[in-house]
Amino acid sequence: MQEALQYVFSGITNGAIYAAIAVGFSLLYNSTELINFAHGEFVMLGALILVTLWNIFKLPLPLAFFITVFTVSGMGLLFERLAIRTVSKPHPIVLVIITVGASIFFRGIGMLLWGKDSYSVPSFSDHAPITIFGASLLPQSLWILVIVGISVCALHFFFKKTLTGKAMQACAINKRAARLSGIHSEKMVLLAFFLSTGMGAVAGIIIAPITMCSYNMGTMLGLKGFCAAMLGGLGSLWGSLIGGFLLGIVEALGVGFFSSSLKDAIAFLLLLLILYMRPGGIMRVKEVKRF
């Protein structure tokens, strides 16, 4: 019992991070129908830039947080401008391959700038772990849950309450009608990249204290986030959350009760299952296209 609770706690913590990454995938897919396989690298950049600003330049944490998010989403904008917008025939498969190439490129940049070493940062606050029914919950887990919660609420508010959010949604629902209603669809795509890579940076920042940060941490995180997004339903904000937590908890229980060597296999097993049974994900938004 106590053991199971401990696994669930660690599952929720990882799940929140997968959810944050999945939200990034979903945001972008929703407005561009593009799956950005470089998304994991933005998570890596988020973690490493935070390490640099906080640990090496000794900036206060909140400041380092915001600078990191804006730097990474700025890079997301550049990525869109330089690598995606410039494609003369933007067929989906071409764009997906470009994002795969970009992920290799970003990993290379990461290796050049930070080397092959791993970095670690302390937890955001140095409280003692909290014990609940004999299972201990790390303060960093609470930070992760709170920050993911705030980000998702902010996104929800953005889409539900602001005109720009509505315009972006409109673009995702019916691009033709949105263009003819005077919405500049290219600007909306740019905004989607900004928000998506910003969410990636947030995920990287909150995961930094509980993992070893290195140039190649992004690949697996990106794939896990992708699995979570597919599980929940690509394009749905709430679906990404459900998918993220589901993946995190199932993974933690699998590792705990079976074998830790199964950790990565579980995510892909779940992905295959959902693709067989319900290709649109749990919260199906739109029919997934096969190209």
């Binding site: 602001t162 005109l163 629902i173 003819l180 919405i183």
Partner: protein, 280 residues
């Protein structure tokens, strides 16, 4: 309602005053089409079309199937670019401008097969239509600038007035895809009006409507014109076209064969020939 009238007419009056000084009296036009040609592959869809749309009128555009009505319509809306010729809107050349820039200038349109943002509510659809008239940009939305917040509150009021105008105020919070088809069309018109257009392009608005709905649509079109919005309407339903139009242009096989008041058109030889066959 009154505010709406003011808003729509305010956006038109100033330009129009200066225009009537620069252009001789009754020749003033809100849209001027000059020697437009457009072909698709080997098909000459439009050949050397020229005509003017006068401000504050309902201009009908009719013709048999394949006459090029929709092509001409799309050229004005910005869905295609012409091969040759010029299109002026308010004395500004627009033939090369992109769609969203044309909407900013004051051209709005609806679609033959109603294109709404289906999963949004009725009022949200109208709010999106207003987006082009707001200053909410990228950064100001993220940082919640005071003017953005104020604008968003105003937008909701404005959207309610527009729904009231087309008679959908009770259905503001209904999912737009749940409305019956005829109402979806009204909603589409409300969304187009939300961008505060000077000209409203209606692409076969009576398609799929029953007789009663068509009649109500005719009333609405006149009501919109009376508020100072020029209307260009492509229509198959001849009785509606004759009823609402102040002037009508007739296309046949990519050429303009007649232009005039509905009465003139009805007794025009070339028009009779085009519709009934035969002729010279």
């Amino acid at each position: 309602m009154n505010v709406l009238i003011k808003n729509i007419s305010n956006s038109i009056q100033p330009e129009n005053d200066s225009e009537s000084h620069s252009v001789a009296g009754e020749n003033s036009s809100i849209v001027r089409i000059e020697a437009i040609c457009k072909s698709f592959g080997g098909l000459q869809a439009l050949w050397n079309i020229s005509f003017d749309v006068r401000p504050y009128t309902v201009q009908g555009l009719i013709g048999p199937n394949g006459a090029g009505k929709t092509t001409l319509f799309n050229l004005i809306a910005g869905a295609y670019y012409p091969d040759k010729g010029r299109i002026f809107f308010d004395q500004i050349q627009v033939q090369g401008k992109r769609v969203h820039d044309r909407v900013k200038l004051g051209i709005a349109r609806t679609f033959q097969n109603v294109e709404l943002f289906e999963s949004m509510t009725v009022i949200e659809n109208v709010l999106v239509g207003q987006y082009v008239r707001t200053r909410s940009g990228f950064w100001s939305t993220i940082f919640r600038m005071p003017w953005t917040i104020k604008e968003e509150q105003g937008a909701r009021e404005e959207a309610k007035k527009l729904l009231n105008f087309v008679g959908l105020e009770q259905y503001a919070e209904v999912r737009s895809s749940d409305l019956p088809f005829g109402w979806q069309r009204l909603l589409e018109i409300a969304r187009a009006l939300a961008s505060k257009p000077k000209i409203l392009l209606l692409d076969e608005p009576a398609a799929g409507l029953n007789a009663v709905e068509t009649k109500q649509l005719g009333e609405l079109i006149k009501k919109i014109r009376d508020q100072g919005v020029t209307i260009l309407i492509v229509e198959h339903d001849m009785s509606l076209a004759m009823d609402v139009s102040d002037r009508i242009a007739v296309l046949n096989q990519g050429r303009l064969i007649a232009e005039g008041t509905p009465r003139e058109i009805q007794s025009h030889d070339a028009v009779m020939a085009a519709y009934l066959g035969g002729g010279k």
